[in-house]
Amino acid sequence: MTTVTAAPADDRVGSRSLLSTILARPEVGALIGAIAVALLFFAVAPAFRSIDNIGTILYGSSAIGIMAVGVALLMIGGEFDLSAGVAVTTSGLVAAETAWYFGLNVWVGIFAALVVSLAIGLFNGWLLHITGLPSFLVTLGTFFVLQGVNLAMTRMIAGGVSSSTITDIDGFESARKVFASSFAIGGITIKIPVVYWIVLTILGSLLLLKTKYGNWIFAVGGDSAAARAVGVPVVVTKIALFMGVGFCAWLLGMHLLFEFNTVQSGQGVGNEFIYIISAVIGGCLLTGGYGSVVGASIGALIFGMTQLGITYAGWNPDWFKTFLGVMLIGSVLVNMWVKRKAEGR
């Protein structure tokens, strides 16, 4: 077979302009949204313009962003995790109570929390695999189970609704340095979770776009049957993604524990939606197979800016949730519009 047909004459698929190539990136909508929100609060809130507050805004964003990275990867892989919010609290409680109850070094507790967090992810992924149920249902179950366990176990062990005091246990100071310290760059105080957030975003993005595992994540989310047919280990990929969320929950849980010295057992409920919304604002499709880690982090940044911007602007903070709802719908519409424009046919 020499040349098959006059194939080069097939000019139906033209090349795209640079602009539309850039606009086709999933995180563009979020970036536009972030700039819009920043400009809005720059205009209405004088305190927002102060350079000192950059650190505060970034810190607020990082508490969401650390989780948003894991959740975004999971969503691109086609699954949800509704237990992500309470899993953070579970992680903090396990670390505190293990160290306190058994009188062990804090680092042992931290390690136990890591094991438990990863195990929760493993359990979610495994249950999803053997039952074949949608992840929405499976993780909704885990969500309630963990919520109950958090409250009941804390009451049993610590006799209240907050974790036992571990400030005087060996290893607390060094753990605090690792998970909840802060430093200053050019007059801006940066708390350590901000660094973790940025590192996670870079690692997550590299994983997604530059490794074969990223290719597998896109594929299992886009069409898991197709992925399996070409030899992608679908089950292992999904379980690993759930465990990734578990890891992020552990990291955030450790920060919260050492930042506030104690964890409230009822915390975290409802946060799972904030993580999911961040990912959606960042361009992740609810159906999987498309999205961006950087976008999810920008989504988290929008949350952080809004949270503080409303306070700085002197508005009633009651409006925060309303603002979020508007933001969510607005950004999804912008994403859709930008995507259609860029793919424009």
Partner: protein, 303 residues
């Protein structure tokens, strides 16, 4: 594939690469496939024909490693094997192009092309190399996609088919299974696919060509197997068969005779002048407008 396996394969080119002996598959009490004997040799096109529900898909799934067989044996290079995952089948050199193509629609062309066989440079993907190879392989197949970052979902059905086949040929070492590759294509693009089947044969691959079109099969096939209701009803080499016989067997031989007998009375050449067609008539009930107003009022009051 290890180097050892490769040499073994080269020594036995006259031997069938893939051999099914009395192979069968049951789903509970449903026997989807029974007593199938197939030998696939390299450099040959083996056509598997059959109507819908004949067991073609089940056969592919067994060979591709999606399902395990429940009866008989499957031999690769004379060694009895049973696959528990498509990855194992691929490693033994069996590549499959599915009817639904197994492409993820939202992923870029080059990402789909290398899915499951990604090329790395150091820690990360060698994107440039993969795009280059992907572009070259697609050009060989006769399609040019200037932007390999485009999602596969935005391409035409024929282009997607070509991507799937080019991918299987590029990675499939010895046996390539094509599941109805021409079913969704027009005449011209079917021709392209058939030419590529011949090219794969000439390159020394064993091709299993699944189709329900005897004309397409007869253009390229060396060996023909017809499945019906999960059993082999015809197993013949090209020399023993004409296109008419193949078409007849495919349509079910005797069944076709019966059908043509039944249809003999319809006189297909006849043209009937247009005529009034008597439609049934149902008169719509006529309601007095005052009555209607009363009903409406009553409904209002009820609320």
């Amino acid at each position: 594939m290890s180097a050892l396996e490769k040499t073994v394969a080269q020594e036995r080119t006259d031997q069938p690469v893939l051999e099914l002996e009395e192979c069968g598959k049951s789903y509970g009490n449903v026997h989807a496939l029974r007593g199938v004997n197939i030998k696939v040799r390299q450099g040959e096109v083996t056509c598997v024909l059959g109507d819908n529900g004949a067991g073609k898909s089940t056969l592919i799934k067994i060979v591709a490693g999606l399902h395990d067989y429940t009866e008989g044996t499957m031999k690769i290079d004379g060694i009895v094997r049973s696959f528990n995952s498509p990855r194992v089948a691929q490693q033994l050199g069996i590549a499959t192009v599915y009817q639904d193509l197994a492409l993820a629609p939202l992923m870029a062309v080059w990402r789909n092309f290398f899915l499951g066989n990604e090329v790395r440079k150091g820690l990360f993907l060698d994107t440039d190399h993969m795009k280059k190879v992907c572009g070259e392989e697609l050009t060989k197949m006769g399609i040019v996609i200037p932007d390999l970052d485009r999602p596969v979902g935005s391409l035409s059905g024929g282009q997607r088919q070509v991507i799937a086949i080019a991918r299987a040929v590029y990675f499939g070492a010895r046996v390539i299974i094509l599941d109805e590759p021409t079913a969704a294509l027009g005449v011209k693009q079917s021709g392209v696919v058939l030419k590529y089947i011949v090219k794969a044969r000439d390159a020394g691959l064993g091709v299993i060509f699944i189709t329900h079109n005897p004309h397409h099969a007869f253009l390229v096939g060396n060996h023909f197997i017809i499945l019906k209701l999960g059993r082999v009803v015809l197993d013949a080499h090209r020399d023993e068969l004409t296109l008419e016989q193949l078409t007849g067997e495919m349509a079910g031989g005797q069944e076709l005779d019966e059908l043509s007998h039944e249809l003999s009375g319809v006189d297909p050449g006849k043209v009937v002048p247009p005529a009034e067609v008597d439609h049934g008539a149902i008169a719509a009930p006529v309601i007095d407008p005052e009555e209607l107003a009363e009903i409406a009022e009553e409904e209002q009051e009820d609320k």
